[in-house]
Symmetry: C2
Subunit: 292 residues, 2 copies
């Protein structure tokens, strides 16, 4: 069985083919420019293979509501050439196979849940803290998508008392993403995160925002596992700080698993999105071939 | 078909019998004292009927994890005589019928979803703001319970700039419940909420905390409908304030339904918990009689 997977990002698309169990056999990186330029390169890559399904993890916001006339569209993205682009429609025109359509964060979370550091759990919160911040929640094999997909990165947070950074979210200024994304760290301190490894204050403040968000997700969703990925979480020293501040903020109120187990780094690293696309495409194929 | 329902509260139990479609036929109020005193009165009431199933919406925290050895227990409640009480076990000893076991908030949310002001939606957040604050989320007919049931009332919130109340949550001081529960309003202003109707500042501050929490639940869960109940929400003037502050805090970031539709009062009033118990018991009965 050959399956296609697409992970779309602000600067590049990754396209891959693989097997149903998430194994990547071949992949290619394509620059993200305009649909007119980028999509033909996607089609060209996929045309080499006899694919049975395609999975897409896209930057958002996207329409994931199957009842909506805009299902399959990228909607109000700041990446202007992609605004209101019918992504699933464009794929279906060239490839007559079942297509799984979700956000990049949902795809990566699904891969961590199935094959990464949440494997074996019944529910998982996945949070990626990079240029932006996004989250997904999977329970009993289902990705949480109600009225639309989560936008957990924009949680309203309390400020750290020593932090006078104004925040950089264009919609909310000092929401989680505005205060704790990779871009926020860079703007606050004047350097990228990986050049600030020895500055303890950077990571104490960063851990404060992340831990606070994890408390609120925990109280709302009660996941069995939290997996943290993205560029910021490559600073491994931050995990013990996040766990410490989480413990303090929780105030022993509810039972959570042992924090070393509960709050973990990603298992699949940069591959999670593309592997998630393969897994979701396989699931879509199974659904579409069920005999009722 | 006759079904039993129990709603347990800090001062009283309500027990009822009804039909499977949520219609209450007879009910009784019993004081909440100790399991030794209260439970025999529950059994005595139910013994009059030929029940096919019983649903319980209990104060928490409770163990709802069916894999846990403590499933069916009330766990670390401050109501000392009920700590570590095997509620489902006590019921099963006297009534050999399927038992649905969840929190009071989950039961009430389920009733609002099925028959109340979220009827017809696919997903609903229910929040009760009374003596305490609690929330539940239902999607596609399933109540969100992952590692355990949500504890949404304890969300960490930003302070209102004009508010110097220290908060009264024993675990987190100034979390949502610590700042915005009925008890917090009473302690901050020296009077119960219903005696403060004409004080605009009371409701502006209250709406600020509620709207902020609704933003964070919305970003995390993306419900199609929010239903707000509990004593505080009987002050109908607060709904337009909550909607107004919600709109401002959201910053036009994500699409939500029209706010008049999106944020609504309860439809079932004080009956939601007991009706939810009936509906959940009926569902439990259906599950237990499925032929595989």
């Amino acid at each position: 069985m050959l399956i296609g997977s697409i992970e779309t990002g602000g600067t590049k698309f990754v396209v891959a083919v693989g097997s149903g169990n998430g194994e990547v056999k071949q992949k290619l990186t394509i620059p993200t420019t305009t649909p007119e330029e980028t999509m033909p390169l996607v089609h060209q890559f996929f045309r080499q293979f006899n694919l049975e399904a395609i999975g897409v993890g896209s930057f958002g916001p996207i329409d994931v509501n199957q009842q909506s006339p805009l299902y399959g569209y990228i909607t109000s993205t700041p990446k202007l050439p992609w605004q209101n682009f019918n992504f699933v429609g464009a794929l279906k025109e060239k490839h007559e196979v079942p297509i799984a359509w979700t956000t990049d964060v949902n795809a990566a979370g699904f891969a961590e849940y199935k094959l990464g550091n949440a494997k074996g759990t019944e529910s998982c919160l996945y949070l990626t803290i990079g240029t932006g911040i996004g989250g997904s929640f999977i329970q009993n094999g289902e990705i949480l998508n109600a009225y639309s997909h989560p936008e957990m990165g924009h949680l309203l947070v309390r400020r750290h008392l020593d932090d006078d950074f104004e925040g950089l979210c264009p919609n909310h200024n000092d929401c989680l993403e505005g205060m704790a994304s990779g871009l926020a760290v860079e703007k606050r301190w004047g350097k990228k995160g990986f050049k600030l490894i020895d500055n303890e204050k950077v990571w104490e403040i960063e851990a404060f925002y992340i831990a606070q968000a994890l408390i609120n997700y925990t109280l709302t969703l009660r996941p069995e596992r939290i997996v943290l990925g993205g560029g910021i979480m490559k600073q491994k020293q931050i995990f013990s700080l996040v766990r410490g501040q989480f413990k303090e903020l929780l105030g022993n109120y509810i039972e959570v698993p042992n924090l070393e187990q509960y709050i973990q780094p990603v298992g699949l690293h940069n591959e999670a999105g593309i592997i998630g696309g393969l897994l979701l495409a396989e699931r879509e194929l199974m659904k579409s071939t069920v005999i009722y």
